[in-house]
Amino acid sequence: MINDNIAIQVKNVTKVYKLFKKDSERLKYKMFHSKKVKFTEKRALDNVSFDIHKGEAVALLGKNGAGKSTLLKMITGVAYPTFGTVRVNGNVSALLELTTGFDPEITGRENIYLKGGILGIDDAKIKELEPEIVEFAELGDYIDQPVKKYSSGMKARLGFAVNINLKPDVLIVDEALSVGDKVFRMKCKDKIASMIEKGVTFLFVTHSQSEAILFCKRGIVMRNGHMVFDGPIKEAAKYYQNMTTGKPAIISKEVTSYE
């Protein structure tokens, strides 16, 4: 039962958050584990298991609060499960919270090295990738201006350009395809499509069923921390549509696979 072909393995993952009425109660609990402190438990994820194989493009669908972002945090290593394991093979690049992680006092170009370093890429490698990243970001002369002068859109474009050009094995995108103008968005989509074609494992969190169908072949639907559907993307989109509206899904005839 040895399978070297798995890029992401989520096994029996449960994440429980303790919700306190006041911060002081949270502090009391953390410091003294006082039994007098009352809290409610919120199961953000409940016994979720799935495998994503190398080269697969998978959409993660679900309403707000379904557990998608919690799952992403586990996969990117930002948070840990209360129970169960998450294993990722390969280096991960995640397009989430694109406007954060910059040092506002240094230039966009310098921030490329900062972000790359945070993601574990050495300076020599970043230097190789720098022209591609700068060109992709389309910031013009602003690339050499301090980031504090950037708009949120410009930061997002820079963040996107850095993460997407780092040649990851696993690319995770969390609702980040609405960055920039229509031309930039098209460019991002083209870039993602070409990465998928080259065999990058792709995990896409989105509310947009058409975008999910455009890039992905498989869809996982989450509800209240549970996985409720896992199968071909069009069926997943229909399932999600039914779940949210109670009406049968109408998938536009124009939406086909990106291929």
Partner: protein, 303 residues
């Protein structure tokens, strides 16, 4: 288990990871490996592996010939690592006899019994899925067993006790049961894949073996559910409504809307089966009112 055996296992999985991933910096090794073996801080261990000649460094960590030889001799460790179950310890796996799959089946079966006894139903469901993947001959049974727990409402039974002990309100209890049906997509797929093996008497086999102390789904209804799944027509929302309505009626709460009930009303057989058996420490008996109702129905039948 000896420290040496655990260290050897740790060594193997670090080497296995290095063979399958590019590791440029020592901190690139993921935390889950160290957690897998309760290693804590893994850097000294990896440095020792380098000193001992299992790993070398050339722009990235590489497995040496000595390391490759160790990997070739360590199928057992690699199998266990890729099994990746949080319920079984490596020591237990090493101490069990048989082929790798046989060992895994024995251990999951043992855990299944333990979890059933301890009434840990989430874990019972998980064990059935693990066994379905390993024990191909009995895969369908395990998927059906998982399903019978998933549709039963037994996982939420503790809230009924809380309600009776006035620790939660009726509204809070009803909210739990309005959202209690979650069937794992793997189970749906598994039942569809094995549908040619299904016979109606498997329902009795599952119910008689699993012996759920509480279920909102009668055997007849379960059969209906399985047939829907095999026909590719399973609808979670629809079954959630059915189970919620059964729950409301059993608790004698007002059913939200008659028009939502697409399935037939509780039949006589289901009324008998719907007696709450309860858990050992709170043995629920059929209420006096319920007994009168059943007696009345019986006399009507006889008339």
């Amino acid at each position: 288990m000896s420290k040496q055996v655990v260290e050897n296992y740790a060594r193997v999985i670090y080497l296995y990871y290095t063979m399958n991933n590019k590791v440029v910096d020592i901190t690139d090794y993921p935390d889950y490996i160290a957690e897998e073996i309760d290693l804590g801080f893994s850097v000294p261990f990896i440095k020792k592996m380098k000193r001992d000649g299992y790993l070398a460094y050339d722009e990235a960590f590489v497995v040496t010939e000595k390391g490759k030889k160790l990997l070739e001799e360590s199928d057992e460790a690699i199998y266990f690592f890729t099994l990746n179950s949080p319920y079984i310890k490596v020591e237990e796996f090493y101490e069990t006899e048989g082929t790798f799959d046989e060992r895994a089946i024995k251990l999951f079966t043992k855990k299944l019994e333990e979890f059933r006894t301890k009434k840990k139903y989430v874990e019972v469901e998980s064990m059935h899925i693990e066994l379905a993947k390993l024990d191909k001959e009995n895969a369908l049974y395990h998927y059906l067993a998982n399903l019978c727990y998933a549709i039963s409402g037994i996982k939420e039974y503790s809230f009924i006790r809380k309600f009776r002990n006035k620790k939660i309100t009726r509204k809070e209890l009803v909210e739990k049961y309005k959202d209690c049906v979650y069937v794992n997509p793997q189970v749906i797929l598994g039942i569809e894949e094995h549908k040619d093996e299904f016979t109606d008497d498997m329902v009795d086999l599952v119910y008689d073996t699993e012996k759920l102390g509480y279920t909102l789904c009668s055997r007849e209804r379960f059969l209906e559910l399985v047939r829907e799944i095999m026909a590719g027509e399973y609808n979670n929302a629809s079954w959630q409504e059915v189970i919620t309505d059964i729950f409301m009626k059993r608790m004698k709460f007002k059913v939200p809307s008659e028009k939502k009930i697409e399935k037939e009303d509780l039949g006589e057989k289901e009324k008998e089966e719907s007696q709450i058996i309860g858990e050992d420490e709170t043995q629920d008996t059929v209420s006096d009112a319920k007994q009168e109702e059943i007696a009345e129905n019986e006399s009507k039948k006889q008339a």
